[in-house]
């Protein structure tokens, strides 16, 4: 009896192992159709374009396409992309942090209701919102008309087809991306810490600065980096509200393809954009982990 019991498991282990392998293989198979599609639409062009970016117009291996990125026109567009992205991220942090903070301090029920104000724009098409800003901000638009009727200005302010309009439109699109993750990370902060700070004699302002602010830093860092990265590659709003005066990385890529049919330049620009984006995301992960552990140690 005991001998049979000893033998049976070894047989079963082998069969189970084979069954397990077959099962894992079948389960992998379920991802294959989706993977094929991503490979067709994203990975194939990426490899192909990266390959193309290594050759010049005559088909010889060269760094011409990357050397071109150092020309003043491209350097300027990189700098203005970084500048616009930093500006938009900064404004989003200044406006979004107080909103996320207040929502996180309210009861779950009230916060759920107020979150509609953030989720509705999040769900509304970016194109529709950009169009609305165009109607609001243009020369004879609603805001200029109102300001004139109120007698605050006599000449229309140039609010759109420039940097101002682009930044306003982008802040509107990006704010929910900052507020929503920041809000959920603030919800996770245990209010007991603030009570402990108050017990130790901290004023509300001190408790906020010394306890809440550091605890919310990882969420703020992650939300801010996400916003910044989304800004770097953002096309729609700069294209419609920039009026051609705001040269962003993304509009340069689009122009290289649709105006100049210059695939070499477009590929090099895209590869550079992807590299910078991935570097920032990696840095962010590293930074957030460090912030997280340093807060945890205290």
């Amino acid at each position: 009896m005991s001998a049979a019991a000893d033998e049976a498991p070894s047989l079963n282990v082998e069969l189970l192992g084979a069954d397990e392998r077959r099962h894992r293989f079948a389960m992998f198979g379920l991802s294959v159709p989706a993977l094929l599609l991503v490979a067709l639409v994203l990975l194939a062009p990426f490899s192909w374009l990266t390959w193309l970016s290594l050759f010049d117009a005559s088909g010889a291996l060269s760094s011409e396409n990357y050397a071109r990125l150092l020309r003043p026109a491209y350097i300027n567009s990189f700098l203005s992309t970084l500048e616009v992205s930093a500006l938009v991220t900064g404004i989003c942090v200044l406006l979004g942090y107080p909103v996320a903070y207040l929502l996180s301090q309210l009861s779950q029920r009230t916060a759920q209701i107020l979150l509609v104000f953030i989720i509705l724009p999040f769900w509304t098409s970016v194109l529709v919102r950009t169009y609305a800003w165009l109607v609001l901000l243009q020369r004879e638009g609603i805001i200029n008309t109102w300001l004139k009727q109120l007698g605050l200005i006599s000449e229309s302010l140039p609010l759109v087809n420039n940097l101002t309009g682009t930044v306003i439109g982008m802040v509107h699109v990006m704010l929910p991306f900052l507020i929503l993750p920041l809000y959920s990370s603030m919800r996770a902060i245990d209010p007991v810490y603030l009570k402990a700070a108050a017990n130790c004699g901290a004023s509300p302002a001190q408790a906020f600065r010394q306890v809440f602010l550091p605890l919310s830093a990882p969420g703020l860092g992650a939300g801010g980096a996400l916003t910044f990265v989304l800004c770097l590659g953002f096309y729609l709003t700069p294209a419609l509200l920039g009026g051609g005066r705001v040269a962003m990385w993304s509009t340069q890529i689009a122009d290289a393809v649709s105006k100049f049919a210059n695939w070499g330049a477009a590929s090099a620009l895209s590869v550079a954009l992807l590299v910078v984006t991935s570097l920032i995301l990696l840095l962010m992960r590293w930074g957030v982990q460090r912030l997280g552990t340093s807060v945890g140690e205290h």
């Binding site: 159709p33 509705l120 098409s125 169009y131 704010l175 408790a207």
Partner: protein, 275 residues
Amino acid sequence: MLSHPASSTQITHRQRLWLYVLVALVMAFLVIPCLIIIPLSFSDSQYLEFPPRGWSLRWYEAFFTSDEWLRSAVVSLKVASSTTILATVLGTLASYGLHKRAGGFDAVVRGALILPMMVPLIFVAIGAFFVYARLNLNNTLTGLVLAHTTLAIPFVIIAVGNGLASFDVNQERAARSLGASPLRAFLTVTLPQIRISVMSGMLFAFITSFDEVVVSLFISSGATSTLTKRMFANIRDQVDPTVAAISSMLVVLSILVLVAAQFVRRDGVRATDDH
């Protein structure tokens, strides 16, 4: 009321008044541009002002009597519904497969499937345009559906993944041990339990496709122009209030989808409460 503390450790409401005002202003900034377009679309003049001097339905009429606008709306609806079906099926399959086998390699597969959400849209756009030029897929509905499905799959995978994370796999094992085939066990035990997540994945997929502009700008034109592509061209070249009428309908659509998502979730809560 104002002199009461906001919470046990907080300053009074009056001292926080500036915070309430600031938050109200930010929320107004977020919501007003989404809603202001609705009254504007009923204006009777070419020139949009708020409040409109006269009311009319002429911009809605302009939309519903234009073959070009209607054709692009039909293209968008066709593409969005095909995308919804394809992305939901492929995304749910992949999510289920990834959930059932946790290994090092799966992180890579999952990462690859989530990638379309992380990559700048302009990059997906020129990439698809480039590959499609070789496959004759530019300016075809198939090409649009494939590209939009790629963009929608990450949302389905995340939504269904969330559902599977709270699903007890033992229920499926029980069905299998009672003799159900894997497919039958999935369809009769697992799928009904994660249906809420699958439905919210579907809503995401539909909106992702229907609202998508940048990729469509590059890979569709003429008879296969999507509604958003035509709107983009129209906004860039002239400010035609017909776009205001279409935008209002899109805003109402977003609100309806949002409400549907709430109902789906509430229904889900009730369903799980019943158990």
